[in-house]
């Protein structure tokens, strides 16, 4: 039981990282990308190939994964993001399949027994889950802070403006295509880094595991928590992982069919869109021109609750 909870924590960390990337694309800029599985695959393969075939360090593969995934995102983003409408989602849906296709043609069985990650002489072994939880969540925290800062920066505000109204954003001097590409490339890069940690934990990569389902799971994570809200996305990652490990957790693997979780993910998307499109936690509130600090705002809310005059 404890074992499964630790496993959920690890995978929730990996998915939280991917969801941070997806949130940058879908939540901030309002573009629908469906190939996080592809970026995830690129990252996993980067670590696998660099550590196994080239004998390089895991830590070196993280920036490489980010750059390669970002570059692929750039290549697909440049033709499709110039256009209006929803071409991106179809193009990315195709890209996800193509990346898996290439990975399968490259090496149908994938890579096994990839060397373990070591840090200052300490080796991360898969059975020692606590070490992995700390490692992965440390990186989730780093990315959370980076993207939270990004969301509140000039770039982030431009992205939000594009999400709300492209024409209005463009007429205010925002280069829509440029910011869309920035957002897409950043999101892709984080997806790639998440792949490194997946490989570091499982020490195997198989092309068959990077299916469209992974992309939908990441999307579901973002939608469930709340698009454009960093904390909500991490909450979403926990819920989604809990749902997908629920049969193992309760020992009902024989009772619950394997497709049940996918059907639940589909239902989550439909139901959330109809009844709560802003997600469980809703959108992040921005301090547009509000000079009060967070503490002052919280105090103001409590003052109102007590029945005092506003």
């Amino acid at each position: 039981m404890l074992n499964f909870f630790q496993l959920i924590l690890i995978y929730a960390g990996v998915y939280a990282m991917m969801a941070i990337g997806q949130n940058c694309i879908t939540g901030y800029t309002g573009m629908l990308s469906l190939c996080h599985a592809g970026f995830f695959c690129i990252g996993s393969y980067a670590t696998a190939i660099m550590c196994k075939t080239m004998g390089l360090s895991f830590w070196l593969s993280i920036p490489v994964a980010a750059v390669v995934a970002g570059a692929v995102g750039f290549l697909i983003g440049v033709p499709t993001l110039r256009l209006k409408g929803d071409y991106l989602c179809i193009a990315t849906l195709g890209l996800g399949e193509i990346i898996r296709n290439i990975a399968t043609n490259l090496n149908p069985v994938g890579y096994n027994s990839i060397p373990r990650v070591s840090l200052f002489g300490y080796q991360f072994a898969s059975r020692n889950k606590v070490a992995f939880i700390i490692l992965i969540w440390a990186f989730v925290l780093i990315f959370y802070i980076i993207f939270q800062r990004l969301a509140h920066s000039r770039i982030g505000r431009a992205m939000t403006a594009i999400r709300e109204d492209e024409v209005a954003a463009a007429s205010n001097g925002i280069n829509v295509t440029e910011y869309k590409i920035i957002s897409f490339v950043l999101g892709a890069a984080v997806g790639g880094v998440a792949g490194c940690f997946q490989t570091a934990y499982t020490l195997t990569v198989q092309p068959a595991s990077y299916t469209f389902m992974v992309s939908v799971m990441v999307l579901c994570t973002v939608v469930l928590g709340g698009m454009g809200n960093g904390k909500a996305v991490i909450l979403g990652a926990f819920i989604i992982q809990f749902i997908s490990y629920f049969p193992q957790l309760t020992g009902l693997t024989n009772v619950i069919p394997a497709q049940a979780k996918q059907i639940i993910f589909g239902l989550i998307l439909v139901v959330m869109m109809i009844w709560r499109p802003q997600g469980l936690l809703g959108r992040d509130k921005f301090r547009y021109g509000d000079p009060r600090s967070r503490g002052e705002k919280i105090r103001a809310v409590f003052a109102r609750k007590k029945g005092g005059a506003v």
């Binding site: 629908l32 193509i98 296709n101 993910f265 589909g266 439909v270």
Partner: protein, 306 residues
């Protein structure tokens, strides 16, 4: 076999494949023309059509040998699966898309992905993930014409597709309801003011598109077998076909489908692409079209009004 007849053979195969893409692309393009959104679940409706067609056909025919009765049973099961898919399409529209008609652009897309996931995994749950063969309802002995070989099933695919497209063109261009449909795709609010029941037009669009997808699914299952995730890649390619022709344009979808089929069948051997990477061709075509002529062959370049 010399090179010329080899390529003629590829083109014949491509036209057959393309006719199927066209039928499916019509559903995408009609829905896009009216609601301006990509119906992601369309590919999975195709899968439902193929499964229901197969099951009804098997129930009707049993162990009978190919003959007149199996041919008749094939068309009966095709009509039945068209009806099933039409009802399913309208139901999906009512439940998952209609409440979101005034929501932001992303909401119906996400909902459609959810529906697609429910359909494909629901089918995997009910029917299992193994792929099934659709038995030919006739003797499928190839016919040799010069250096080119045509199988009866290819002829069937092409004839059925042509009939369906003529019927659709007649409906859209000559009937009152077709006129209402064209009006709605130009401007929803104005057509509502002119007394057109927009909701009914939208339901009808989904019904027709899904019925055509059912035909496409059944015809495709001769070549691709029937399995729960068959709709994803076929649906994706049909969408590419719709984009090639100009999304929202009905003639464009027909032309785009055939063009994509030929490109795929000829392009892979021409460029020496291994068969496992054939899907890449359709994808590369999409990227090129988006770069060179994003409005498609027959599409008009629409400017967004504020």
């Amino acid at each position: 076999m010399n090179t010329l007849s080899l390529y003629l053979q590829y083109i014949v195969n491509g036209i057959t494949l393309g006719a199927i893409y066209s039928l499916i692309a019509l559903g995408y393009t009609m829905v896009y023309g009216i609601l301006k959104f990509i119906n992601f679940a369309h590919g999975d409706i195709l899968m439902v059509g193929a499964f229901s067609g197969l099951l009804i056909y098997q129930a009707l025919v049993g162990e009978a040998d190919p003959g007149v009765w199996t041919m008749l049973a094939f068309f009966i099961s095709m009509l039945a699966s068209m009806a099933i898919c039409a009802v399913l399409g309208v139901f999906i529209e009512r439940v998952a898309y209609k409440p979101l008609r005034n929501a932001n652009r992303l909401a119906p897309l996400l909902s459609a992905i959810g529906v697609s996931f429910i359909l494909s995994n629901g089918a995997a749950w009910i029917f299992g993930t193994t792929s099934r063969r659709f038995p030919y309802p006739f003797q499928n002995d190839p016919i040799h014409m010069g250096g080119v070989t045509i199988t009866p099933h290819q002829i069937l695919v092409i004839i059925v597709s042509i009939i369906m497209m003529i019927l659709l063109a007649f409906f859209v261009n000559k009937t009152r309801m077709g006129k209402a449909m064209r009006a709605t795709s130009l401007d929803q609010n104005t057509s509502a003011l002119m007394g057109i029941n927009v909701n009914r037009v939208i339901s009808l669009t989904f019904a027709i598109g899904s019925a055509l997808a059912a035909v496409g699914g059944m015809l495709a299952s001769f070549d691709f077998r029937v399995y729960p995730s068959m709709g994803t890649m076929t649906g994706l390619k049909a969408f590419v076909a719709a984009v090639i022709g100009g999304i929202g344009n009905i003639q464009g979808a027909m032309i785009g489908g055939v063009l994509l089929g030929i490109l795929e069948a000829v392009g892979a051997p021409l460029l020496h692409i291994p068969n496992g990477m054939r899907d890449t061709v359709a994808f590369a075509v999409l990227i090129i079209i988006l770069l060179v002529r994003p409005e498609g062959i027959l599409g008009k370049n629409e400017r967004e009004k504020v």
